[in-house]
């Protein structure tokens, strides 16, 4: 099979090749001796395929290798810019393109309140950047759409405006604002922004467990896995995980069932809540709306909830979370979560891990994955959490509480709801916040992002044996 088909973009494919190689060397205990050769293993020969020359390609690959090995230790943000990979895209703002026909009307000139527009001898418009304030009025009135707004894809992707341009013209992330959602990672066409990888920790955890002899290593997988690895069956992914050396696989969705139960109760008691599942949303609320912090649900996320349960009931257990999310790598470092989750991987990294061991999951038998209810599983898409909380209220006989949920799909919608709430103007009494558009299935660590993803999550939900939350968690209480 064509390997690039597993991913949306060639940037992801390149990142994957680096992760795979680093993991492969780690398995063989040859990482240290071969470390400096990895760029050459990935880009052999003399002909450049991506950049101006192979030497620049390899220099950037060396940076990617560093990130695959955990990245810079002097910065805690898990999202990093690779300065030399940043193509310093035009970010000039409004510019006249060659579609300008040099017309007579000069609507652009009339629209510009700053007098920033002049014309050359061919009557073609020019914008004086010293006068322009980027209002965009000229672009709106041009009948030929000849004025373009040149924005960097990373800055356009970062809806919370954490990315600026540094003195060297490269992208720069404000760690105080960044919520580690990874939108820029997925959107940068040059792959110049990346999430630090802990794949080496996981290889180490797998090795040292010695197939369960020393401790049991649990893989907790996010429900969005149902929209991933579509070239194989989900049961084959589970077999692959066990082949890697995981003791067993547990659905994070069972943690979601537990959260839905607890969160609906907390909501009925307090009257207003914002959700605790999405670490980027929680981080965003904490950083920007300090007055709302008391309203953030006090429940751990589904990942941390199920990991805590595993550690409380199983002696000698360690837990690796596998999901679509870069922000989870930040969440597992929080003091409240650290004791329960030992490491976090993305689906991208899991693919690299499979291939570093030459595990072709399509050739494996189908194992089973079934712990959670329909409601726990649909947490993976926007709106699922609100449905589950409604169900949780019903099942616990808390029908007196009237749920009015606002499901915020993407961080821009979150911002809107949080701003309204901070000004006491929000009608609803529950904010479901998901930083990624579409919910977790839109996460930056997904292999693919497709139009069918939501349907796949819903189908996976319907396949759950338990149709309600209490049935799924009856023993856990």
């Amino acid at each position: 099979m064509n390997e690039t088909r597993k991913f949306d973009t060639k940037v992801q494919y390149l990142k994957y090749k680096v992760l795979r190689e680093v993991a492969k060397q780690a398995w063989n205990d040859t990482l240290l001796e071969n470390l400096l050769d990895i760029p050459k293993i990935i880009v052999p020969g003399k002909t450049p395929t991506m950049r101006c020359c192979v030497y620049k390609e390899r220099a950037i690959l060396a940076e990617r290798v560093k990130i695959a090995m955990g990245g810079r230790s002097d910065r805690s943000n898990i999202i990093e810019v690779i300065d030399i990979a940043c193509d310093e895209c035009p970010a000039a703002g409004y510019e006249v393109t060659d579609s300008c026909r040099g017309c007579l009307a000069h609507r652009c000139e009339d629209a510009c309140k700053r007098g920033a527009i002049s014309f050359d001898h061919n009557h073609v418009a020019h914008i004086d950047k010293n006068k322009c304030v980027e209002c965009g009025q000229c672009a709106k009135v041009c009948p030929y759409s000849a004025i373009a707004n040149r924005k960097r894809p990373c800055q356009a992707a970062c809806k919370i405006k954490a990315i600026s341009i540094n003195e060297n013209n490269a992208a720069q992330i404000d760690d105080k604002k960044c919520i580690s959602c990874g939108a820029c990672v997925y959107q940068c066409p040059f792959g110049a922004i990346s999430d630090k990888s802990y794949i080496l920790n996981v290889v180490d955890l797998l090795k040292k467990s010695q197939l369960g002899k020393n401790y049991k290593l649990f893989a907790v997988v996010a429900p969005s896995i149902s929209s991933q690895f579509t070239y194989a069956k989900l049961g084959q992914v589970i077999s692959g995980l066990k082949k890697l050396g995981f003791h067993t696989v547990v659905e994070a969705a069972l943690g979601a069932d537990m959260v839905a139960q607890a969160e609906s109760k907390e909501l009925a008691e307090k009257g207003f809540l914002t959700s605790s599942c999405c670490p980027a949303f929680v981080d965003y609320t904490r950083k920007n709306y300090p007055t709302l912090i008391p309203h953030i649900s006090h429940n751990l996320s589904p990942m941390a909830t199920i990991a805590r349960y595993i550690k409380e009931t199983t002696a000698n257990a360690k837990v690796v979370f596998i999901g679509p999310c870069t922000a989870k790598k930040m969440e597992v470092q929080l003091d409240t979560v650290k004791p329960y989750v030992d490491s976090a991987l993305t689906f991208e990294e899991l693919q690299a891990l499979f291939d570093s061991r030459d595990i072709d999951i399509t050739a494996l038998e189908e194992d089973v994955l079934d712990n959670a209810s329909y409601f726990g599983r649909i947490f993976a898409r926007s709106g699922g959490l609100s449905d589950a909380v409604a169900e949780g209220l019903k099942e616990q006989g808390l029908d007196d509480f009237e749920l009015h949920a606002v499901s915020c799909d993407g961080i821009e919608e979150c911002k809107k709801a949080l701003t309204l709430k901070s000004k006491n103007l929000l009608k609803e009494n529950f904010i479901e916040g998901m930083a990624c558009v579409g919910g977790c299935i839109g996460g930056a660590g997904c292999l693919t992002h497709g139009a069918k993803d939501k349907a796949q999550v819903d189908r996976y939900g319907q396949e759950a044996m338990e149709k309600n939350i209490l049935d799924a968690i009856s023993i856990l209480q």
Partner: protein, 81 residues
């Protein structure tokens, strides 16, 4: 006595939820709430085709099904109390 009922995927599909319910009602029926603690566990690595894996203190018993539950409870659990 602590009884761990496996709720891992394989046992779950073989009816661990029903076995949990049967345990809960049996404990209630025999008034053993003070003597037996029920808990869930994940895979003990003894998955089989017959039924659910249950751990009674240190002893692991495999193949418990809703059909064989009464016999299992009477012959394995009760004598240990």
């Amino acid at each position: 006595m602590t009884i761990h009922i496996c709720i891992g995927s394989s046992c779950h599909l073989k009816g661990s939820e029903q076995v949990v319910n049967l345990f809960q009602s049996a404990v209630e029926q025999h008034h053993l709430e003070d003597k037996i603690t029920l808990a869930g566990s994940f895979c003990t690595g003894r998955c089989n085709r017959e039924g659910v894996t249950v751990q009674v203190d240190d002893e692991i018993i495999t193949g418990v099904t809703p059909e064989t539950f009464d016999q299992f409870f009477n012959s394995t659990v009760l004598p240990k109390l």
